[in-house]
């Protein structure tokens, strides 16, 4: 019966699609393709006009300073991603398990956890830069007061530490998102399954290990993918805490800040011209796409493996 209706007046389908299709295509898809196309151009000046084929890619991977900066940012981005993923997944999961218990105030803690996410990365970054500022010294004095004064150091002045610091601030800010995602997943678990487990004598740890964890594994996958996409283009936290030059000595340079400088800074002050900027964008795009596909694959495989275990 519906077929009859469906055949009538289908022009409206086009009408419904056209607005979104145009905006999405013109301002999201085309610009990405544009970068790929533009990455084949080079020459002197900010706006390259000369077709150079894959020259930009060859330079990026083999010549300094391109090579050094690119692989530096690649390594930092991976470290940054791993630290953030650890905090958001491990601590996020742990707190989500806690706030889904029945106790007075559990909704309060849930709501509070998301509060930092509402701040912009920029505000969080500036705020913690000030807190760690040795002139004001509020964090250093606190450490001294609790007897940990020996830990005090230039937090944002040492390359290896600064990267960890900006990753922790990012985690502080986004931990709420993973907590909300995981609590949603845990709340959606059928209470019958949990009751059955309890009858079988499963303690809290067994419940977490064999029921909660496998059942929310798909959500852990989503959170990890979201972190991955966010971190591989993260820029704001670097801008706020260690400047677009990713001080000290590019120790906090991430793909986002590298792309920003390469494409939009004047040549000689960190800029590489738009052709090279487009090359960097294209490489990041492929890394993100491949990474997401691998993560999707990994989490799907794991999910299936878990299901099989469950059947056995």
């Amino acid at each position: 019966m519906t077929e009859v209706f469906r055949k009538k007046k289908r022009y409206f389908i086009l009408l419904f699609l056209v607005g979104g299709l145009i905006i999405y295509t013109a301002f999201l898809v085309v610009p990405i393709l544009h970068s790929m196309f533009y990455s084949l151009f080079g020459g002197p000046g900010i706006v390259p006009k000369e077709f150079v084929g894959f020259q930009n890619y060859i330079q990026l991977f083999t010549q300094n300073p391109y090579k050094e900066r690119f692989f530096g940012a690649f390594g930092n981005t991976i470290k940054f991603f791993l630290i953030v993923t650890f905090f958001q997944n491990v601590i996020g999961f742990f707190i989500a398990v806690l706030v889904t218990r029945k106790f007075i105030g559990n909704t309060f803690f849930r709501r509070i956890s998301f509060l930092p996410t509402t701040l912009s990365v920029l505000v969080a970054g500036f705020l913690f830069t000030l807190i760690l500022n040795p002139i004001w010294g509020i964090f250093d004095k606190f450490l001294e007061a609790i007897g940990l004064g020996f830990l005090v150091r230039p937090w944002l002045g040492t390359p290896s530490i600064a990267l960890v610091v900006i990753a922790i601030v990012t985690s502080w800010q986004y931990l709420g998102t993973s907590i909300i995602f995981y609590t949603a997943g845990i709340d959606a678990i059928d209470s019958e399954i949990l009751d059955a487990a309890k009858i079988d004598g499963a303690g809290p740890l067994a419940e977490i290990r064999y029921i909660i964890f496998p059942l929310i594994l798909p959500i852990i996958g989503i959170v990890t993918i979201l972190i991955f996409i966010g971190d591989f283009t993260q820029f704001d936290i670097v801008y706020a805490m260690t400047s677009p030059y990713a001080n000290p000595q590019y120790g906090t340079d991430l793909f986002g800040s590298l792309f920003y400088r390469a494409a939009f800074f004047p040549i000689g002050r960190g800029g590489w011209g738009m052709g090279m900027g487009a090359t960097v964008a294209t490489i990041i795009f492929f890394i993100v796409t491949i990474g997401v596909l691998l993560l999707l694959f990994a989490f799907r495989m794991k999910g299936i493996a878990r299901k099989k275990e469950g059947i056995e």
Partner: protein
């Protein structure tokens, strides 16, 4: 659910969660009290409450910048983009969820692919298009970018949601003489309100807080948004602690208050987003 009968376990639970909440509250609290102190007091008594509520730095902030204009710009941009995202993605989702036509499956995946495409990476092209359309350095440029950025998620959530609406509802409307667009506006749209709310809420924060696109698409003071103004003021007055803290509070307090009022809706929206994925 596990119930904690054991008192010590329960105490431990509270201790952990209270420490966690302190790690959230204290930096925000510190930011607010510091913004109310006099410049000297910020250094001499950093941890204590302000001796008097000193609003001087806020006065100064409003004097040296057009803060109300930045605030207005952020509101216009966020609301307009959210409305357009909801309108366009609900229209798309209705068609993709309820009609089969050549390429309909492809179109669905085409839109969903946007979920994993970081739009930032297309910025060079976006700047060129905006210059070509003569909207570079206007609010319109930012709105268009955010709409493009928000559509994939909108389509993702709404298509799923509309699919669950039973076809019988549409069919009885058809028998009553409704045209297909009328079915969308009269039957479907009222039913998907919760999903629309979820889409709006999930898109709200990234749009309101976006710094990247204002940084690259805005030059004029009248077009600045709050995040861009925050960054520029911070860079300019880095050593004036009183002012800087009031800049940070001015940037975050409206959202914090909005969140505290709407936190139930936020969490509901985010949770439904999490489970759809």
């Amino acid at each position: 659910m596990i119930k904690f009968k054991n008192g010590t376990v329960r105490t431990l639970l509270y201790v952990i969660l209270i420490i966690y909440s302190m790690s959230i509250f204290y930096p925000i609290f510190l930011m607010i009290i510091t913004s109310l102190k006099e410049n000297r007091e910020i250094f001499t008594r950093p941890y204590s409450l302000p001796q008097s509520f000193n609003l001087d730095s806020y006065m100064y902030l409003f004097k040296i910048s057009n803060y109300l204009i930045y605030f207005r710009n952020s509101i216009i941009i966020t609301l307009t983009s959210l409305l357009i995202i909801l309108a366009l993605s609900s229209l798309i989702s209705y068609v993709l969820a309820k009609y089969r036509f050549i390429g309909s499956r492809f179109l669905y995946f085409y839109f969903i692919a946007g979920l994993i495409i970081p739009i930032k990476l297309g910025t060079i092209g976006i700047i060129k298009i905006m210059l070509g359309l003569h909207v570079f350095d206007t609010l319109v440029a930012l709105i268009i970018v955010y709409v493009a950025m928000g559509i994939p998620f909108g389509v993702f959530i709404l298509t799923d949601f509309i699919r669950l609406i039973p076809e019988e509802l549409s069919n009885s409307a058809r028998i009553d003489g409704c045209s297909e667009p009328e079915i969308f506006f009269r039957i479907i749209l009222p039913l998907i309100r919760p999903a629309l709310a979820a889409v709006a809420i999930i898109n709200f924060i990234p749009i309101w807080n976006d710094f990247w696109f204002p940084l690259l698409l805005v030059r004029t003071d009248n077009v600045k948004t709050i995040p861009l103004a925050t960054a520029l003021l911070y860079g300019q007055y880095e050593t004036n602690f009183g002012l800087i803290f009031s800049v940070l509070v001015a940037a975050s307090l409206p959202v914090i208050i909005f969140y505290l009022i709407m936190s139930r809706q936020f969490i509901k929206g985010l949770s439904s987003g999490a489970l759809k994925g």
